[in-house]
């Protein structure tokens, strides 16, 4: 095996590792729903596997969850990917953490209740990890 072939092989392996790394850090493997606004949470964060969830729920459109609103109207062709919910749901002056929690709960639990599928009780989502 010549130097060139070794380099080629190494770069292929390196490229594969890099892609794996990107995939691991992409939303494909989101482990928890986290928001920087929750600095002192009352409950453990929610375990969430983005791709597995959407496959199970049959969600193909990003903005089913990553929605964007303008003047109280949902924008059909816009999405809020990469944004934390708190960026909008804590942005108004009269918003509180309670309102942010409410937004999260209505988004997840509200849909689960509407679809009669998925967890709805507190402990079903906010799982203690020390057990």
């Amino acid at each position: 095996m010549g130097m060139r072939q070794v380099l080629t092989l190494l770069s292929i392996i390196g490229g594969m590792l890099l892609l794996t790394g990107i995939a691991a850090y992409s939303q494909g493997d989101i482990r928890f729903v986290k928001d920087s606004a929750f600095d002192d949470p009352m409950r453990p964060p929610v375990k969430f596997h983005h791709d597995a969830h959407n496959q199970k729920a049959g969600i193909t459109e990003c903005n089913v969850c990553h929605h964007m609103y303008e003047d109280g109207e949902k924008l059909e062709y816009e999405a809020s990917i990469g944004m934390e919910c708190s960026q909008c749901h804590l942005s108004q002056n009269d918003n509180s953490k309670m309102d942010l929690i409410r937004a999260y709960h209505l988004q997840c639990r509200g849909c689960h209740l509407k679809e009669s599928a998925g967890p709805v009780l507190c402990g079903e989502c906010h799982q203690k990890t020390d057990q």
Binding site: L113, L121, E124
Partner: protein, 219 residues
């Protein structure tokens, strides 16, 4: 599971609170009517001043001779009643649900405080249970319904603790938690738990008769 959850966390909550509130009003009015028919003197003797004097005196721990004679019972009873009301009303998990429904909220206690107070309620229920079995003068007045009522009061606290700490079967415990809370609300007007409604009147009448008629103190 979803169907059961939707029913017990939706219409049944309204039903339970409806029966609790309307049933309480009915019991208060019918008891008032009965008193008017059988013992009308109760109304003429009733004095706001002596009633309040007695009520205030009896809600201060160890203010009365009887309380000082039974220090353990007094301590347990006060801790029990305070925790019984503070936990459900000021629990974060409850307040967040109120906020989701109506966008109103109030101050909440830390989870650790709720844990300690929940265990205090459960412990007090065990204490009352043993007391009813052991003390002859209490045993004499005890019926099976008293044990049922004790179990009913403890149930929402046991299931709530179980659900919060996610012990095995915590989803079922969560369902039972909601159900047992509804059951206890419905029980209040129609069982011995109605002392929650009647205590101002019974205590108030005793205070009025002692203060206004006998010129004495009822403690």
């Amino acid at each position: 599971m979803h169907a059961i959850y939707e029913i017990i966390s939706g219409p049944m909550v309204w039903l339970a609170f409806g029966i609790f509130i309307l049933g309480s009003l009915y019991r208060l009015f019918s008891m008032g009517r009965l008193a008017l028919k059988k013992d009308a003197v109760v109304f003429s003797y009733m004095s706001i001043y002596y009633a309040l004097r007695s009520i205030v005196h009896w809600i201060v721990p160890f203010a009365s001779v009887n309380m000082r004679k039974h220090p353990v019972m007094t301590l347990v009873a006060f801790v029990f009643h305070i925790c019984l009301f503070v936990v459900p009303i000021f629990l974060f998990a409850h307040i967040i649900m109120i906020h989701e429904a109506w966008q109103i909220n109030w101050v909440y206690i830390p989870n650790l405080a709720a844990d300690v107070m929940t265990l205090a309620v459960i412990g007090a229920c065990i204490f009352f249970f043993c007391r009813r079995l052991i003390l002859p003068e209490v045993r004499y007045l005890t019926t099976y319904s008293d044990f049922l009522i004790l179990a009913g009061v403890a149930a929402p606290f046991i299931t709530g603790f179980w659900s919060f700490h996610q012990y095995p079967g915590h989803v079922a415990a969560g369902i039972l938690h909601i159900l047992s809370g509804e059951i206890i609300l419905v029980m209040i007007p129609f069982t011995r738990l109605s002392h929650m409604l009647f205590f101002p009147f019974t205590r108030g009448y005793a205070g009025s008769e002692f203060g206004g008629v006998r010129n004495a103190k009822d403690w």
